[in-house]
Assembly symmetry: C2
Homo-oligomer: 136 residues x 2
DNA sequence: ACCTTTTTGCAAGCCAGTCGCAATAAGTGG
DNA sequence: CCACTTATTGCGACTGGCTTGCAAAAAGGT
């Protein structure tokens, strides 16, 4: 995925904050909270402000470069867009998010697409529970 | 569902704030935000404090009398517990939440119960989109 | 290099939700 | 019915994630 192309094709400028946020998101394989992103960004490039990070994330979401998902603890987490037939496994103890792919999600998507009186844009399947590491 | 019994059986006291919150939740057929609940509560019984409303909602959630679900806009909404094979249809424009029952959700629940290394407690399927009324 | 327009950094602000604590009221036993 | 214990409330202060207004900085076009 080429960030520059994606931005320019929609008349947005390619800036340092945007590049760094993008790098952080793609380097991390998995979900990050806004806080984690902001921290890592200013570790790599001190001086980039939180508000720029938030604005960038919002922009990326509009461009569908990233996806925001709400977590059980009230926070939200961000990751580069990916295929959709995925269940989010959210550990309610440490907050980590894993993926689990299942064809059922796609079946569900098709079913939900035909509900009358509602135009579905996206589907989010989240299971909360406790991950291996927190169990012990 | 009898609130008094539910509370007493777990050694909790039956108080006015709890009753009013419960009434509001059961009268409203559907999801309410914490804010809406607090507003309606203090309309019915001025003097009941927001913090009591929040504490009550948390308590009810622990007792599994109500269920909290996170919404796409970052808020959360509350409703009396109900069967689990349900998809939440969240209108991203007006925030209203509808239900759509589907047996697929239960299949999904079974599948997810067997994912290794993760102990699932609950499943939440949410579709966001635009409702009929906001479409026009 | 110049000019226009977007984007940034900063600081102040916002607001849902939480917390500590003294006052109040539920439930209990006499 | 009253006194007593302890959970619960209301209040006000506070927190923390996120947003906003604005002047200064930098992107991109010519």
């Amino acid at each position: 995925m080429d960030l520059e192309v994606a931005l320019r094709s929609q008349d947005h400028r390619v800036t340092r904050p945007r590049q760094v946020v993008w790098d952080v998101l793609t380097d991390a394989h998995g979900h990050l909270s806004a806080q984690e992103i902001a921290d890592e960004v200013s570790a790599r490039e001190p001086g980039i402000n939180v508000s720029s990070v938030y604005r960038t994330l919002t922009l990326f979401a509009e461009l569908e470069l990233v996806r925001e998902s709400r977590r059980a603890d009230g926070g939200s987490s961000w990751e580069p867009s990916h295929g959709d037939d995925v269940i989010h496994l959210v550990c309610s103890s440490c907050g980590v998010v894993r993926h689990h792919a299942s064809p059922l999600v796609n079946e569900l998507r098709h079913e939900v697409a035909h509900v009358p009186g509602f135009h579905v844009a996206g589907l989010d399947v989240a299971a909360n529970g406790v991950c291996e590491r927190c169990e012990s």
